[in-house]
């Protein structure tokens, strides 16, 4: 079992629908349209050859500059039999961050999705209890999004230039 086989099986099944592959640091990363996330995971889970039946991690990333695909949801899957990992990434627009829940497939996705919702506001459609988990229930924003700066905005010694990036974030 190698990244090549996974790539090949996925291409056979989903063909042109997949947005791209990446293999940096030895881990296969697949980008796909958001509406396909569950179909792909189900295929990876059920396929007799692929057997990606362990959800290692689930999180989101906010890219304010990518219009129409501001939020990225990253799944880390693991085939424990052949000991191979992969990453699945889907992108959703921040105005409508809807993506299907993976709780039917993995019980462990429950809290991971709640955490992702809590910090990024990703709406996992079909989740049994999509409520805040680490932050207080009364919170009315999603704190990990990039528009919420860490530092006091009046401080000039902690602007983005000090962190190797030009200009200010969003």
């Amino acid at each position: 079992m190698t990244n090549e086989i996974v790539k090949q099986r996925l291409s056979e099944k989903f063909g042109e629908q997949l947005a791209g592959f990446d293999e940096s640091f030895g881990m296969l990363a697949v980008s796909a349209p958001a509406e396909l996330n569950l179909k792909i995971m189900q295929f990876l889970h059920d396929d007799e050859q692929l057997k990606f039946r362990f959800l290692t991690d689930l999180t989101a990333i906010h890219y304010p500059d990518r219009k129409g695909e501001e939020l990225c949801i990253a799944y880390h899957l693991h085939n424990l039999v052949d000991n191979i990992r992969m990453r699945l990434k889907v992108y959703v627009p921040i105005e409508r961050p809807d993506v299907s829940t993976a709780t039917q497939l993995f019980s462990g996705a429950n809290w991971m999705e709640r955490e992702t919702y809590d910090f990024y506001g990703v709406n996992f459609v079909g989740h049994p209890n999509l409520t805040r988990i680490l932050n207080v229930d009364e919170m009315d924003y999603f704190p990990m999004r990039k528009e919420y700066a860490m530092e006091d905005p009046t401080r000039v010694d902690k602007d983005d230039e000090m962190f190797g990036r030009g200009g200010t974030v969003a």
């Binding site: 940096s24 290692t56 880390h76 000991n83 993995f106 910090f119």
Partner: protein, 417 residues
Amino acid sequence: MSELQKNQQQHITLAEESLQKQSTTLNLGPTHPATHGVFQNILEIDGEKVLDAVPTIGYIHRAFEKIAERRPYYQITPLTDRLNYCSAPINNMGWHMTLEKLIGIKTPKRVDYMRVLIMELARIADHLICNSVIAVDTGALTAFTYVFQWRELIYEIYEEICGSRLTTNMGRVGGFERNFSDVAFQKINKFIDGFPKVMEEFESLLNRNRIFMERCIGAGPISAERALNYSFTGPNLRAAGVDYDVRVAQPYCSYEDFDFKIPVGTTGDVYDRFMVRNGEIWESFSIVKQALAKIAQLENDDPAQKDIFYAPESDHYHLPAKEDVYTKMEALIYHFKMVMGEINVPAGEIYHSVEGANGELGFYLISDGGRSPYRLHFRRPCFIYYQAYPEMIKNGLLSDAIIALSSLNVIAGELDA
């Protein structure tokens, strides 16, 4: 509203029919002495039987992932300390190794063995706490106070190596901040000489203790299938019978050079988790001895190895020794650049995981080439497996729920990040 409810105090809003129901709602925690940390569970109990549980978490959430987006890389190490603070060095080393993988630094063998030595000592310390606390929760305090002396010695070893005990902030990218002192090696040898006897006594107190066995066997079980579906890792998964260990599956830090076994259980109950951890303590102890022997072998083959404690190519990331900072210009420049956070890290996206004391601790790091991570996500094993807790204690006794919680080794700092 019933007649009864009208007479209740006005500031308490009772759920409709709550006085008529046969079960009791019990608020366990967040500061209950038997939960060993800030865990709240709202239990629905019928007599002694647990019908349902709803955990509330987040009491000590400190927004580490957000803070990490605004910290230079070396300032993130102290954040990792505060995840699983019972075995902070494993978190530190895991974080350094993630960065080394991203930058492309290859650490020398001696550094790897030193790291393995410390990580396994940390695993022993962590398991000692967890297992002795299971005994405390079943009513036996002796074992706990006894093994804590040896955890103390492990903390003294940390202190000798990095200067601090609990939240260690140990090591740097590429290796250690300084070489292990002779005293550190003396203390490690003292540990190796004295610990097996203590561990044997600890085991003889509990392993075949009838009362302990009756309390633990069958309490809070989980099947291998459910454990995998819940993304369990670490001793809790192995107690259910799945031999997944990151040290073997994706060896890091030269673990492939070591000879050790992976203890597994069958039923995934409290007793199996206890026994798996005991087995792991012995394996870790053997790894510590092997690491020490390997370090001695390296020094024996080449005396110059004695001075190697970090990767030479990590100069740009490794804080130079203080005496060099005061006397050498390059060292002063690097020191300044590092402390001011002016060291850029190449752009890239990486997931690296280590076998933490309670499961697979993963670091998902996205760097955009800046001086702080663009995004850093910690895969915290106990955040992921704690969600199975209600399912595990359902239809068991309340006292089983308590020992199930301690045997899961849920660390509040890691749970809430």
